[in-house]
């Protein structure tokens, strides 16, 4: 589904080159739920934005759903983002001027879908996250957890092949975070491929597989006993 080989991302200024990703290799299979962890500044979010075609990379190869994406133009990248990828951000990133229905509608508008089909998909997605009754509400009228559920509905409405989540519970309290996580697990059980960036070892432990990034490179968890212990401890403390 997602395969990066020897991928690098360099930010250049006149005086310095900074490697955000270096010889980065990852392979996510279809239907997998992968948690990407690592300390701040390790390159997790850069990986996610490149994976989501929001940013270009400097070297290496990236195949998404079998397509090499390095030579795609803006239109092609936008079309792939719209049709194959769903995004869930830490800050929800809902458009404050649009109500819940209109927010979920945004990606479907860019797909040129007919109004009746849009409405059906939007209401299905909102039913799925339990917010169908809030369709006419504006983001400011919802709690953080509800806003993140709207963002998930927005990601789901387009039936993407890949869900990219960047700290999806980072701005939520424990109870709301648990609800959002359960929703992601449910979506995964229904067959979606999910890549989730998180700081939270407890959330990482609930994914099928963990990928750890340090200094822009994927490292083997077995070689990082501190993280291994943290994951182990989190698994023991997780609710049954």
């Amino acid at each position: 589904m997602l395969k990066m080989t020897h991928l690098s991302k360099v930010y250049r200024t006149e005086v310095v080159e900074t490697y955000a990703l270096r010889d980065f290799n990852i392979n996510v299979n279809e239907g997998e739920f992968v948690a990407v962890t690592g300390p701040s500044g390790s390159g997790k979010t850069t990986f996610l934005t490149i994976a989501g075609l929001l940013e270009t990379f400097t070297g290496g190869q990236y195949h998404l759903d079998g397509v090499e994406v390095s030579n795609l133009n803006d239109n092609e990248r936008s079309r792939i983002r719209n049709e194959k990828i769903g995004f869930i951000f830490q800050a929800f990133n809902l458009i404050p001027d649009l109500n819940v229905f209109d927010n979920v509608e945004v990606p479907l508008r860019y797909r040129g879908m007919k109004a009746a089909e849009r409405k059906e998909r939007i209401m299905d997605a909102l039913e799925r996250v339990g917010l169908a009754s809030r369709a006419k509400h504006y983001p400011a009228e919802l709690s953080g957890g509800q806003q993140q559920r709207v963002a998930i509905a927005r990601a789901l409405a387009g039936s993407p092949r890949l869900l990219l989540a960047d700290e999806p519970t980072g701005n939520l309290d424990t109870q709301m975070a648990r609800g959002v996580m359960e929703l992601l697990e449910e979506i995964h059980r229904e067959g979606a491929t999910i890549v989730m960036v998180t700081h939270d070892p407890e959330l990482a432990a609930r994914a099928q597989r963990n990928v750890h990034i340090i200094d822009g490179q994927v490292v083997d968890l077995a070689e990082d006993p501190r993280f291994h212990h943290a994951v182990h401890a989190a698994r023991n403390n997780a609710p049954a």
Binding site: N75, N93, I95
Partner: protein
């Protein structure tokens, strides 16, 4: 997607009413100032006879010599003498030609209940009617034979026909002009070219419609004096005969020359004619002639008032300042929505779609600015007489074409002003926006 973007645009405009009002007012004021002054400029710079403006020519012949022309930068006088007019008419080198002059006529109505009144009339030749494409309600112009026989015939205008004959067909009836009866041979439909190209010298380009036309030959026979300019380089002497034989210039002259070759041939003819006058001892200088078509003649006579040009330039400058302000306001407005742009890009919007969304929003501002501009233009046109002469000011009208132009200018100018802010909006990097949130 157009309706969707328009809906988003209107929603965004409603969200910041003060900012929206500022932009709409800036566009409205700039457009109104430009359109008000343009309405004057348009009327004064209008081509009054577009279908023939390149075929009708004014010949000029220098009968005064270099000394008298020192103040005129070597250009021949703007009018010609009776001698030259008659010679040019006699030689008939153009397809059609006419000499002409304005004359004040006292009209004595047949209806005893009506008081006599004065009308400006023109004395010219039969060729003038087809030459100037004058439309007729009844009858037609007089004939060349009637020119030759100095016939007492006249063509009157629609307004005069309405006044004297209640709009009925008056062909064959008589009209009393300066105490003499003239048989009406035609009633012209409304004909009022603006500028009045055929007699710029005596009208400054703008005047009321002319209601009476009589044969030039008849007017001269009854010694009708001109109501226009009469310029002499030296004393013409006393009496009618002395005046018409003098070097005083007081006649307009027009020649219809449908092709460039004919115009070139006519130029040669004019030079030849001037050379002949030199040989005969009348001119003591080399031939100095000109031949200008309608457009060149109006340019040469500076029919467009200088203040119309200056005020148009000033108001366009004002519009530019308004647009620069709008650029700043739009930039602030659009960049405030960088995070929304980032989200839309992440969800599949191409750069082109971001361009479209924001350009349509700008067009909505332009549309509102156009409506405000239209109202202000209407007020401006009503108040234009405070700045321009009444003859000029009355030409400024808010007609359908100006309404359309005002709306188009407002929308186009705003969309143009939105190009840079929209370009900046479309350059927003979604990754950075989403990371920074």
């Amino acid at each position: 997607m157009f309706a969707y973007y328009l809906q988003l645009g209107l929603r965004s405009l409603r969200k910041n009413p003060l900012l929206t009002l500022l932009m709409v007012l800036a566009i409205g004021c700039g457009v109104a100032a430009s359109m008000t002054t343009y309405s004057v400029f348009r009327a004064t710079s209008n081509n009054p006879i577009p279908q023939k403006s390149s075929q009708l020519y004014v010949p000029q012949i220098d009968n005064w010599g270099p000394e008298a022309q020192q103040d005129n930068k070597g250009e021949p006088p703007n009018a010609i003498t009776y001698t030259d007019a008659i010679n040019l008419m006699r030689d008939k080198r153009a397809t059609r030609q006419t000499a002409l002059f304005p004359a004040a006529m006292s009209i004595v109505p047949a209806d005893p209940s009506m008081l006599p009144f004065r009308e400006t009339s023109y004395a010219w030749y039969a060729d003038a009617f087809p030459m100037f494409d004058i439309p007729f309600l009844y009858g037609h112009g007089w004939t060349a034979d009637e020119d030759a026989s100095h016939a007492a015939v006249a063509v009157i205008g629609k307004a005069l026909n309405d006044k004297l004959f209640d709009g009925a067909n008056s062909v064959g009836k008589n009209i009393n002009l300066n105490g003499r009866d003239y048989r009406i041979v035609g009633v012209s439909a409304k004909w009022n070219p603006e500028p009045v190209f055929y007699d710029v010298i005596n009208t400054n380009g703008f005047d009321d419609p002319i209601e009476v036309f009589i044969p030039f030959t008849r007017a001269v026979e009854v010694q009708t004096t001109t109501n226009g300019n009469n310029n002499c380089s030296k004393d013409p002497g006393k009496g009618w005969d002395a005046w018409i034989k003098s070097e005083c210039v007081w006649l307009g002259f027009w020649a219809e020359l449908p092709t460039t070759a004919q115009a070139d041939a006519y130029r040669q003819y004019l030079n030849g004619y001037a050379a002949e006058q030199q040989r005969s001892g009348r001119f003591h200088w080399a031939p100095n002639t000109r031949l200008r078509n309608v457009t060149e003649w109006l340019d040469y006579q500076k029919v467009v008032p200088q203040e119309a040009k200056v005020s148009l330039l000033v108001s366009l400058g004002f519009l530019l300042i308004c647009l620069v302000n709008t650029v700043g306001l739009l930039l602030a407005k659009f960049m405030k929505r960088a995070s929304e742009i980032g989200v839309r890009r992440a969800l599949g919007a191409t750069r082109k779609e971001i361009y479209l969304q924001f350009l349509i929003e700008a067009a909505a501002i332009g549309l509102a600015g156009g409506v405000v501009g239209l109202v202000l233009t209407g007020l401006g046109v009503m108040g234009i007489s405070l700045v321009f002469e009444p003859d000029i000011a009355k030409l400024a009208t808010l007609d359908a074409s100006l309404v359309l132009l005002t709306m188009l200018l407002a929308i186009l100018a705003t969309v143009l002003a939105a190009f840079y802010p929209t370009w900046r909006a479309a350059q927003v990097q979604p990754a950075w926006q989403l990371k920074s949130n």
